[in-house]
């Protein structure tokens, strides 16, 4: 960021306006993925974003418990396993976010009266955990070969006290941020499938974050494409 843009920012702040200024920090950390690394689940993937890493496993379509059976579509169950201790309310919330996103993209009506189980295990949390969950989930669902109407990816944006947007923040950046937003974006129309926000922000900031996430999602979808191509081309 140049000095002049900094000055401009202070000017705006002085004028009582919330304005997002030049975004030189908008970048994604290095990310990696490995698919079908576990032998037992029908589909599995590990996804890492910087130091944050998540392992996902999918079972299904399989037999469903009678109490959970839905007559016209498959029952999707998402379980989030924390690294230390037992799952609590926070994990329940994350489970719900992931489940609703997956339900939106999976073609569940093709497997009525069956169960799909998606298990997400935290391996290391260094910020943007929810987006990592979602990306790992999508890769695992792809690996399991489940029919989906579209793929999805997730991007976390943090707005710090200066109004600067950071995508894919680390845990330290998350702590210093004023607002934190995670968006799940679909691959066909780049529309928002799920949003989860924390902190205060203006309408224009929200729209900016969505626009940034849509731009960043291009990179992630390209990564998905590359990894699938590499897998089926059978060339390293």
């Amino acid at each position: 960021m140049t000095q002049s843009s900094c000055d401009a920012l202070h000017f705006f702040r002085g004028g009582g306006m919330m304005e997002v200024c030049g975004s030189s920090t908008v970048s994604l950390r290095e990310f990696g993925c490995e698919q079908s690394l576990l032998s037992r689940p029908d589909g599995s993937a590990s996804f890492t974003q910087g130091d944050t890493s998540v392992l996902a496993g999918v079972y299904g379509p399989a037999e469903v418990k009678v109490s959970k059976e839905i007559y016209d579509r498959a029952t999707l169950e998402v379980l989030v396993q924390p690294k230390v201790g037992l799952p609590s309310v926070r994990e329940r919330l994350q489970e719900q976010c992931v489940r609703e996103t997956c339900e939106a993209s999976l073609l569940l009506s093709l497997h009525p009266r069956s169960s799909l189980t998606l298990i997400l295990q935290v391996l290391h949390d260094d910020g943007s955990l929810l987006s990592c969950f979602l990306n790992a989930a999508c890769m695992a669902l792809m690996d399991a070969g489940l029919p989906m109407s579209c793929l999805f990816c997730a991007v976390t944006c943090a707005i710090d006290t200066d109004g600067q947007i950071t995508t894919d923040p680390t845990a330290a950046q998350e702590k210093e941020s004023r607002a934190l937003m995670t968006f799940a974006i679909d691959s066909t129309e780049r529309k928002v499938l799920m949003s989860s926000t924390k902190g205060s922000f203006s309408v224009s900031e929200l729209q900016q974050c969505i626009a940034v996430s849509q731009k960043a999602s291009e990179k992630i979808f390209q990564f998905y494409r590359d990894s699938v191509r590499r897998r089926y081309s059978k060339i390293l």
């Binding site: 950390r29 490995e34 890493s53 079972y59 295990q121 290391h124 060339i235």
Partner: protein, 425 residues
């Protein structure tokens, strides 16, 4: 979800193969599968791959009050989480027989063998000690979870560093990792569990059974031993009779296996220490193999944000202005808020009807007039103490005619309300 059953022909095939000293994966009788130990980014995080079986152990610590009968000893807590990821048979949050068995065996292997100096975990005698918690998560179940869990747990404990603590007089200061280097636990020895499976009433013996082999086995013997050839725990399950020399033979095999595994663990710890000292990246992200077609890695990329601001402002403009809010909401009294504009409240209409039924319309009017009079006499805040309810403060709005529901109940209404309550009961 139910497990897929093992067919009789599969069972017969496996047993026939054992008679011919052959195993499905081509191992010899006393061979372990390939063991791979990797570490996570933070201290006390360890992954163990035993063939296809995969577990993760994470050690964490916390300052707690000690147990009354042991005021100057730290607390060790073990938890093996049979995650549904490992096998569809495992259910979330349910203590199965297997999980109790594994937890008990791990406790006996690591806590009861006194391999960790718990007295060094004491901070203030009788008040504060460190509780060391070991969480073992199963990620993939392909047999012999116990050995994998015990290797992961002891390696994670060796790898773990707890924050440094300083005591000056009565003040206890816990230093973060930036201020002072965290200190490792003092570990006397490393007990490692080795599993033996028996087939055909103990005629055949195999080391490190895989999942298929576990399904057809008759009995299991788990020996926890350290490299000084001291047995820390021994457990036989499945209800088979073992002869003395069978147990002796198993313990001899175990001692060989344990010394091999201990060397492997020390080597892994050494490598990790070197890597951390050199400041190079370590952890799970680095351990993704690059030579597989199923894995791909991408360097950090900048995101092109051109046109983002324009797009955002376009969307905001297109969305139009939000509906006008009431410029000055009616505030009957300072410190009182109101939603909507004095329209007749439809909340609790049924209740009101009920009240009307009891008291009658005419009476209601009378009450209202009475209320009005009373209100003018009394202050703005009316406090009524109901014997059954908690204290209720009702604030009196300026226009009681418009919102009859918010008027303070008079003594008549109170009676009505009470009769209503009785009716509900």
């Amino acid at each position: 979800m139910k497990d897929t059953p093992l067919a009789n022909c599969e069972r017969d095939f496996l047993l026939k193969a054992f008679e011919e000293k052959k195993r499905l994966d081509g191992r010899q009788t006393y061979d372990y599968r390939k063991i791979k130990i990797t570490f996570g980014t933070d201290y006390g995080c360890c992954f163990v791959d035993l063939g296809k079986t995969r577990v993760m152990a994470q050690v964490s610590c916390e300052l707690v009050a000690p147990k009354d009968n042991r005021p100057n000893e730290g607390i060790l807590f073990f938890n093996i989480e049979l995650s549904p990821m490992a096998s569809p048979v495992f259910e979330q949050g349910r203590q199965s027989e297997l999980s109790v068995k594994l937890n008990r065996q791990l406790e006996r292997c690591l806590r009861n063998s006194k391999c960790i100096d718990t007295e060094s975990l004491c901070v203030v005698s009788g008040e504060k000690v460190w509780q060391i918690r070991v969480d073992v998560h199963t990620l993939n179940h392909d047999g012999n979870l116990m050995d994998a869990a015990s290797i992961a747990a002891i390696t994670a404990l060796c790898h773990f560093r707890r924050p440094d603590v300083a005591i000056q007089g009565d003040d206890v200061t816990v230093y973060g990792p930036e201020e002072r280097d965290p200190i490792p636990l003092s570990i006397y020895h490393m007990p490692i569990s080795v599993s033996f499976s028996f087939f055909q009433q103990g005629t055949y013996l195999l080391v490190d059974p895989c999942e298929r082999e576990e399904r057809v086995m008759d009995g299991l013997l788990m020996i926890a031993m350290n490299k000084h050839r001291e047995i820390c725990s021994i457990q036989s399950s499945g209800g088979i009779m073992l002869l003395r020399d069978q147990v002796m033979r198993c313990s001899k095999i175990a001692s060989v296996k344990v010394s091999e595994i201990t060397d492997l663990i020390s080597k892994a710890l050494e490598n990790d220490k070197k890597a951390r000292k050199a400041g190079s990246k370590c952890g799970f992200a680095e351990s993704i193999p690059q030579e597989r077609i199923t894995a791909l890695k991408m360097e950090g990329t900048p995101v092109d944000v051109e046109g983002v601001t324009e797009r955002a402002s376009y969307v905001v403009q297109k969305a139009g202005t939000p509906p006008q809010t009431v410029p000055s909401p009616v505030v009957p009294l300072p410190g009182v808020g109101q939603v909507g504009e004095g329209i007749h409240s439809t909340w609790g209409m049924e209740e009101e009807e009920e009240e009307n039924n009891i008291s009658g319309d005419e009476e209601d009017k009378v009450i209202q007039m009475e209320v009005d009079k009373e209100d003018s006499k009394r202050g703005d805040v009316v406090e009524i103490s109901d014997s059954e309810e908690e204290e209720v403060v009702i604030l009196n709005p300026e226009t009681p005619d418009k919102t009859p529901k918010s008027k303070p109940p008079s003594s008549h209404q109170k009676v009505a309300a009470k009769t209503k309550k009785k009716q509900k009961k």
